[in-house]
């Protein structure tokens, strides 16, 4: 049974020469959305799928969920071919900009998706309780989803993806359209999911976010994989060295620079590290939020 070519069950995702072509008959052209993609995701890692809009990220995820059929190639999830129902038992999916059923409230939504995964009774009740807490939606349980904010929708989406305790999660642009704080919370959740032993594959075109949480990434462009590897390997500039020091006077800086040049270092530059705009935003807003909390609140004359 086991040939050298058989899929490996220790890999969360294995993709071999996956290709998706769309015929455009009225233009007499063929659009290649995904082109000979080879990719592996290991168990327990957070994998970032990067690329500009239209680079084939969503198409790839859809093929992994058997929502569309590949024109060529094969893919497996934990060794199961993706077009089997068994493959989907181990997978949770959050689509891009999800809407869900507007007329259901948070609780009913999770109950519905739990039912689809074959759950019922106390096991389902407990799971809903646990997930509502995990994604922090205690205030959204009884509200219909039509009254949810973008960030809340994304969180209920994450909860429904997790309802049947899948080992692998596909998140398509999980932070698209969410404000920086909500976006931060989703990133924290991804990290927590990894700590719980889940494998997470997520697509994004917001690079900084990917950098913060992903172990490994692949960058796609026009349907082709351009780069794949661990972030650390990809981002370390091998022939450069960086020092960061506090309270170093300009004179001392000059001395250090001369010393480096004496020892053969070239192209020395001296500057102060900068916060990213996002870090500044979060620092500012979180300070303000903490100050608003009861107990920390500043004395005020307003009633």
């Amino acid at each position: 049974m086991s040939t050298p070519d058989s899929p490996k069950t220790d890999l969360a995702v294995e993709i071999r020469s996956l290709t998706k072509r769309y015929a455009l008959p009225w233009k007499r052209k063929v659009l290649v959305a995904v082109d000979q993609l080879n990719l592996t995701v290991r168990r327990g890692e957070v994998f970032g799928l990067l690329g500009p809009n239209g680079s084939g990220k969503s198409t790839t995820l859809k093929m992994l969920l058997s929502l569309i059929k590949p024109s060529e190639g094969e893919a497996w999830i934990f060794g199961q071919p993706v077009d089997t129902i068994e493959a989907r038992r181990t997978v949770g999916f959050l689509p891009e900009n999800p809407y869900f059923y507007k007329f259901l409230n948070g609780d009913e939504t999770l109950r519905f998706y739990g039912g689809l995964a074959g759950m019922q009774g106390i096991a389902l009740d407990n799971k809903i309780e646990e997930l509502i807490k995990l994604v922090g939606l205690e205030n959204g349980r009884d509200r219909p989803l039509s009254a949810y904010s973008k960030g809340m929708l994304q969180r209920i989406g994450l909860a429904q993806a997790l309802i049947h305790d899948p080992e692998l999660l596909f998140l398509d642009e999980p932070t698209a359209g969410v404000d920086p704080i909500g976006s931060r919370e989703i990133r924290d959740l991804i990290v927590r999911l990894r700590d719980m032993g889940k494998t997470v594959v997520f697509s994004s075109h917001l690079l900084e976010q990917v950098q913060e949480v992903a172990d490994r990434v692949a960058i796609m462009s026009l349907g082709k994989k351009m780069v794949e590897g661990s972030l650390n390997d990809l981002l370390t500039v091998q022939d450069r060295t960086q020092f960061i020091a506090q309270d170093l006077s300009p004179a001392a800086q000059e001395e250090v620079r001369q010393l480096i040049e004496q020892r053969g270092g070239r192209n020395v530059s001296v500057s102060s590290p900068k916060l990213s705009l996002e870090q500044l935003f979060l620092k500012t807003v979180e300070y303000e939020r903490a100050a608003q909390k009861p107990g920390v609140a500043k004395p005020t004359n307003e009633r």
Partner: protein, 293 residues
């Protein structure tokens, strides 16, 4: 197998909840008005005519409102799921596409059953009230009258009873439901390859009309002797396989007109409906399995 039914039930229940929370049942208010108006507006006609008006209008309104729900509601089921991307989250769970489609259809059948049941209750309420009022009127007229008048009143009361408690109305309602099930099935099948709800509504409506003309055409062409060419026969053969013969539901009109239609005939029509629905759903599943989402 059991798991599969469980998932179908979850999807069907969700479809029904969605429709109910979108206030589809408001249509009942309109139906109530029609039933009451048709029940009490035509008081200066004969007994039999009065009841015929009430039955005609009420069953007709049930049929029209049911058709609206079956057509518009079903045509939107898949496009809404696809547009809102809810279908992705459902099919990403261990759910087969066939289960999804059957679940959606069962949800629509449940909605149609709920609407028909509630309309029937309103209808029965109106017809029984009318019975009560008319019998009271007869009794009032007969009071202190001569024996001949009293005998006539008794005759009238018997007729009122017979008209108001006509068990054949159950046949009419069941057959109306069967017709709606076929329309919903057609709309669902068409929506598996349609690109918009409008296309589905228009095409289903067209098939519905063809379904009514089909048997007329068959009768005219096939009994036309040897002059009917081979191509016409093939065309009709294919047509009768693809398009349900909607004229079989015309017995509803006969029932309301007062003709006796045996239950065996009704059961025949229901079996035809069942077989046609099986074919419709099988084709729908085959197409939907291949659809790119």
């Amino acid at each position: 197998m059991f798991e599969s039914l469980f998932r179908i039930r979850a999807i069907a229940r969700n479809t029904l909840t969605e429709a109910l929370r979108q206030k589809v049942l408001n249509i009942l208010l309109l139906f109530g008005v029609i039933a009451i108006v048709s029940g009490f507006l035509f008081a200066n006609f004969t007994l039999a005519e009065q009841f015929k008006f009430l039955k005609d209008f009420s069953i007709g309104a049930m049929s029209v409102f049911g058709l609206l729900i079956a057509l518009m509601g079903t045509a939107q089921l898949l496009p809404n799921e696809i547009e809102n991307r809810t279908i992705y989250t459902i099919l990403a769970k261990p759910v087969r596409r066939s289960e999804f489609l059957i679940g959606k259809y069962c949800g629509m059948l449940a909605l149609l059953a709920t609407t028909m049941l509630l309309m029937s209750i309103v209808f029965v309420g109106v017809i029984l009230t009318k019975e009560r009022l008319m019998i009271n009127a007869e009794l009032r007229d007969a009071q202190g009258a001569n024996a001949e008048m009293q005998a006539m009143a008794n005759e009238n009361i018997k007729q009122i009873h017979k008209e108001a408690r006509d068990p054949r109305l159950i046949q009419a309602i069941v057959l109306t439901y069967a017709k709606l099930a076929v329309v919903a099935g057609l709309a669902l099948l068409i929506s598996t390859f349609a690109t918009s709800a409008i296309f589905t509504v228009a095409t289903t409506f067209m098939v519905y009309i063809i379904g009514h003309l089909e048997s007329v055409a068959r009768a005219a062409w096939l009994t036309g002797g040897s002059e009917v060419n081979f191509a016409a026969k093939i065309f009709l053969g294919v047509l009768s396989f693809l398009v349900p013969d909607m004229n079989i539901y015309n017995v509803i009109d006969e029932i309301i007109a007062g003709s006796a239609v045996p239950w065996s005939h009704t059961l025949n029509v229901l079996s035809y409906t069942g077989i046609f629905l099986l074919i419709l759903m099988s084709v729908a599943i085959l197409i939907f399995n291949e659809r790119e989402l």
